[in-house]
């Protein structure tokens, strides 16, 4: 069975380094200040799982959560 992933950016931790947007542009959006939030409801489309983990492991503020559902 394939696991489904969901991502969430903690807005209190995000400082706008924008590493996630650079590494996984499909999964994150930036607001007018450059701070990140997850695209849509945060569900990771099949095939983008690696990018979700990569974004998490490069966030200097440890603001990204990857939830296995």
């Amino acid at each position: 069975m394939t696991e489904r992933l969901r991502i969430h950016v903690d807005p209190d931790k995000c400082q706008g380094h924008a590493r996630c947007k650079a590494l996984a542009p499909e999964l994150f959006e930036l607001d007018e200040y450059g701070n990140a939030h997850e695209a849509g409801d945060g569900a990771v489309p099949p095939g983008l799982e690696d990018k979700a983990w990569l974004a998490k492991s490069n966030c200097p503020e440890i603001a990204i959560e990857v939830i296995e559902e």
């Binding site: 400082q15 380094h17 924008a18 007018e32 503020e61």
Partner: protein, 406 residues
């Protein structure tokens, strides 16, 4: 009012753990073994120099301090021999603490988003190529003086709407503030006065004739009460953008070229796999982070088990944090395809560099355009590489021979 201090002699350091000095020639030349030595002894070390100063040596201790605005203030952000009086609106938001920090920071963020930087990218590529045109036929170049230095100056001048031809003026002020000013306060004050007079004239000119640039953007900005910013706030932010935007990225581009000149295998790989460049830029930022910030201890606390007392400064070395082997495997090696890289080159917490997206774009463009035109280059054995002293580290003389070695 403090007296203008005279340049103070700094005796050579013999005990790095208990008497460190980031202006010592040994630190300037090769700080990495020094940081390893300090880190092996304690996560936080102290010196009596600079009227008392701590330095966190691990990533964890740096992270703790950067996130703790209760005990550590940003009202002073450079470790100097003296503690000049704290000026209101010195350079917001970098010199601001909560709650003033957030509104000041939010004002500056929109012009520096990744999307805003994409619009600037074509001009940056043109600037890089104009610079390369100026020396490529010579077969040799000082890449710090002729290339890496001018890229950020011209970028920030372009954004601020001030003449790119004033570049040398800006470079001189920055040298006086960040290098000479550490030990000679008169140089610092002179540069700040000249810079303020320069920007005041630009602000006045825009009161009659508004322009489409960052200076007018700041003049039109409104604070949270809907009022225009005070002239002193606009001036402080302009000083910050100029100071923070130039020799930082100059250093990062210079260090990256220095690495590539000495590492043909990385150069060849980046030419063969250009899509690797963004990852490589992050690794070069980690390994050769240019910027060390500072904080002032305003309330006693404990960091990584070490007591920290008020009245001391803190040398907040993001470069040392980025070399912590507990955080980064093979921390002393440049691994240009490093997959996991939570480096702190642009700081951590609320003071994350406003210009990080600009700096990344400039680095990427500067290295790409250089490698397209100059795939082969090496250090000129007849020249000497010199490094800047103090708060921002990068090559200031970078003599290269261009083309394949005979």
């Amino acid at each position: 009012m403090s007296d203008i201090s005279q340049p103070t002699a700094h005796p050579p350091v013999t005990d790095w753990v208990n008497d460190f000095d980031h202006t010592d020639p040994q630190w300037t030349e090769d700080p990495f073994p020094i940081w390893d030595e300090m880190r092996a002894v304690s996560p936080v070390v102290h010196t009596d120099r600079f009227l008392g100063c701590y330095m966190p040596t691990t990533y964890e201790a740096v992270r703790e301090i950067a996130h703790d605005t209760e005990h550590f203030s940003s009202r002073r952000i450079i470790v100097r021999n003296v503690r000049p009086e704290i000026a209101r609106n010195a350079a917001p938001p970098i010199t601001s603490d909560p709650p003033e920090h957030k509104p000041a920071k939010q004002l500056l963020l929109p012009p520096f988003t990744p999307d805003a930087m994409k619009k600037l990218e074509p001009r940056m590529r043109a600037i890089c190529n104009e610079l390369i045109d100026g020396f490529i036929a010579d077969g040799k170049v000082d890449a710090a003086a002729r290339y890496s230095k001018y890229i950020p100056v011209q970028a920030i001048a372009h954004m601020l709407g001030i003449p790119e031809s004033d570049s040398d003026l800006f470079i001189n002020w920055i040298h006086m503030i960040l290098e000479l000013g550490i030990k000679d306060e008169s140089k610092l004050l002179q540069a700040v006065q000249e810079m303020s007079a320069y920007f005041t004239a630009h602000i006045e000119a825009r009161k009659d004739t508004p322009t489409d640039d960052l200076i007018s953007y700041l003049m039109n900005a409104r604070n949270k009460d809907g009022q225009p910013l005070e002239d002193s706030h606009v001036l402080g932010s302009l000083r910050l953008l100029l100071i923070a935007g130039i020799d930082t990225t100059w250093s990062a581009i210079g260090s990256s070229l220095w690495h590539l000149a000495r590492t043909p295998v990385d150069r060849e790989r980046l030419i063969a796999e250009p899509e690797l460049m963004p990852t490589a830029v992050e690794e070069l930022l980690r390994a050769y982070s240019p910027v060390t910030m500072a904080r002032e201890v305003v309330k006693e606390t404990t960091i990584s088990g070490c007591p920290v007392k008020t009245g001391n400064m803190v040398l907040l070395s993001f470069p040392a944090a980025n070399r912590d082997p507990k955080m980064f495997p093979d921390a002393d090696k440049v691994v240009i395809d490093r997959r996991e890289n939570r480096h702190a080159a642009f700081g951590l917490g609320i003071h994350r560099c406003v210009g990080s997206n600009l700096a990344r774009m400039e680095m990427q463009v500067a290295l790409e355009e250089w490698l397209k035109r100059i795939p082969d280059f090496r250090l000129d054995p007849a020249g000497t590489v010199t490094w800047s002293q103090g708060t921002v580290r990068g090559p200031r003389q970078l003599p290269f021979l261009l083309g394949k070695a005979m």
